[in-house]
Symmetry: C2
Subunit: 371 residues, 2 copies
């Protein structure tokens, strides 16, 4: 009713108690809606709070209760549609349960990730959800357990640890995409990822430090190998950010034995590949087939619309939040890893492999010697 000027000094339970002529404990009980308070006192306290425009200090409350009702999240980059989408799933579930979310970007840098985890822990978050930049360098995550707080890994696992995780079955997804291409007669199938790696090429047995990418590479290679393709690692390309996705795609397409199909590890990569194919004067899918991971809306309106591997990203985030909340509440959770399946959404960027006119004989020879 009465407007009040902004006061430097915040009004506290002590002020309310004084105004309502009760003890701080009683005022706090009425305000915080806990313990026993008579109706008469309660309304007196609430009226005073209203009158003085009281605002509880959540920090002080957290100090006592030991709970901040906050979940800390560390993702690679919130601008990445993948994480933006997952973040929405996390927020929705967390908010519905009365929790807030503190967001931090690691830029896929382990040191930044470690710093973020420390800050979040110091801020007393009740649980942490992190998409580890590396599945190999994860020692800093032990600090979460040391602080006695739940940790849920998003999209990526931590090698050698059984932390709770919510991931997608990337191996199966990559295998499905590869099979789709193989069924159309493709033999030279490329996979392009921007994940950091010592070199753009992949040597069998080498460790790929992000589990999601490692799983995809494994899925592609296994499927290729099973189909009898020799040296299935030949067209695997990692670390494409450093050399440039466009340069990598160009090399693959411009080679003596050009690839006839490309699997892009995310939609941003697909966008660049799409442009390079066009710039080279090639047609999709006549000359080159393309499958992208992730299904942002735009993939449906390009010419041609893209065949994609759709991941349940929102659900991934929601499930991570649900697991975090379950751990906070100390609920019994039997399985530690939640794994979602991805779907292959068939549109129009995949077609039969073009017949390589000049190389046909040689290729036939090579292949028959394997059969």
């Amino acid at each position: 009713m009465s407007p009040r000027p902004a006061s430097r000094r915040a009004v506290t339970v002590a002020d309310i108690a004084r105004a309502a002529k009760v003890s701080k404990a009683t005022a706090a009980r009425a305000l915080g809606d806990y313990g026993q308070v008579s109706d008469a006192v309660r309304s007196r306290v609430l009226a005073a709070a209203e009158e003085l425009n009281y605002r509880p200090n959540a920090l002080a409350k957290s100090m006592n209760t030991g709970r901040s009702n906050t979940i800390g999240v560390v993702v690679g980059d919130i601008e990445n549609p993948f994480f933006a989408h997952a973040m929405r799933g996390i927020s929705d579930v967390a908010n519905a349960a009365g929790y807030d979310v503190i967001l931090t970007n690691s830029d896929e840098d382990v040191d930044a990730e470690e710093a973020a985890v420390d800050v979040l822990l110091d801020k007393q978050v009740d649980a942490l959800i992190v998409a580890p930049a590396s599945s190999a360098r994860v020692s800093h995550l032990a600090a979460v357990a040391d602080a006695g707080r739940p940790l849920v890994l998003l999209d990526r696992r931590a090698d050698g640890h059984s932390y709770d995780s919510v991931t997608v079955d990337n191996r199966a997804a990559a295998a499905a995409a590869t099979s789709e291409l193989l069924a159309e007669g493709h033999r030279r199938i490329a996979f392009i990822s921007t994940h950091d790696h010592p070199a753009p090429e992949y040597t069998p047995g080498e460790r790929i430090t992000m589990s999601s990418v490692a799983d995809r590479v494994a899925g592609v290679m296994e499927t290729l190998a099973t189909a009898g393709i020799p040296s299935p690692e030949t067209h695997i390309r990692l670390d494409a950010r450093r050399r440039g996705v466009d340069a990598v795609a160009r090399e693959l397409l411009d080679a003596d034995e050009p690839v006839t199909a490309i699997i892009a590890s995310d939609s941003l990569i697909a966008m660049t590949v799409f442009q390079v194919i066009r710039t080279l004067g090639l047609r999709i899918p006549d000359d080159v087939s393309l499958i992208a991971f992730d299904n942002p809306e735009w993939t449906g309106i390009t010419t041609p619309p893209l065949t994609v591997v759709e991941q349940p990203i929102y659900e991934l985030g929601a499930a991570a939040a649900r697991r975090a909340l379950a751990r906070i509440r100390g609920e019994q959770v039997d399985d530690e890893a939640v794994v979602f399946a991805a779907d292959l959404v068939r549109r129009a960027s995949v077609a039969a492999a073009p017949r390589p006119a000049p190389l046909r004989i040689a290729a036939a020879f090579t292949e028959s010697s394997d059969a």
Copy 2:
């Protein structure tokens, strides 16, 4: 060096003080790096902290200092690329200054926004950045000033208030897009927004509750009016979410006097319009010209690539964070409103207006009577 089991009870300055055989005050000074401490004592304390795996409690610190080093942000929807991008700008600037960010989605709902602001205030954020869902219903924002904390409005102003704000010159941007179309001979130019409104049609003088949209509508109408187009409100469409962007676009394109150009108020709307135009068997830009607000990468790879109004979104967020920090530090800031210009990026979705064969005479008459 020595592994330690997770302890329920966190180690505090008191523990460190005891281990280092100094007072809590001294331990705190060494740990917090403030006040005076001799080198000998400092290293003794730091060693103890290391040994006991000490973690400062940021909440307790905030209780004393009155600062949480946290900025609260309320956006419409983090999944919206616009906000995801702006959020990146906010985070980068905030983090660089040692601040964390608590993110909340309002879903463009004023009640949810109010609740979010309250929670954030209770969590003692040092400043708030909000993209108000309505420029008309903003009374709840007064709570921020009441709590003595800075508020910066993002992308949208609050009618009748001089809160700090960081926006884009939407009026000029919409005018530029309209002029571009007018120059190509278009006379029936539509503008489509999903912003909530009592009806899809717009009646001159009616209030549009989101300043960014209101500015765009004003820019379009003024430019149309200046060009001598009668009833410039004719093809303005709001509230398109309720009826469906596709239905709205279809009506505009299927009318007796169909529009020959469409300005989409964001890239999501543009995507749907793009599809509807195609579904109708029409060509861009031969039959219909299209200009979209925002410039996500995909707009460059469609056939044809889209002409767009590019807003400096990241900068918008960064500037909002900078202003918030300046206010937190109590710096003198002269101008209250920061306004960025948007750029028209010409690609290939705009062409000369098609000649409406059957209506040509009538149209010519109408137009000459205006000249």
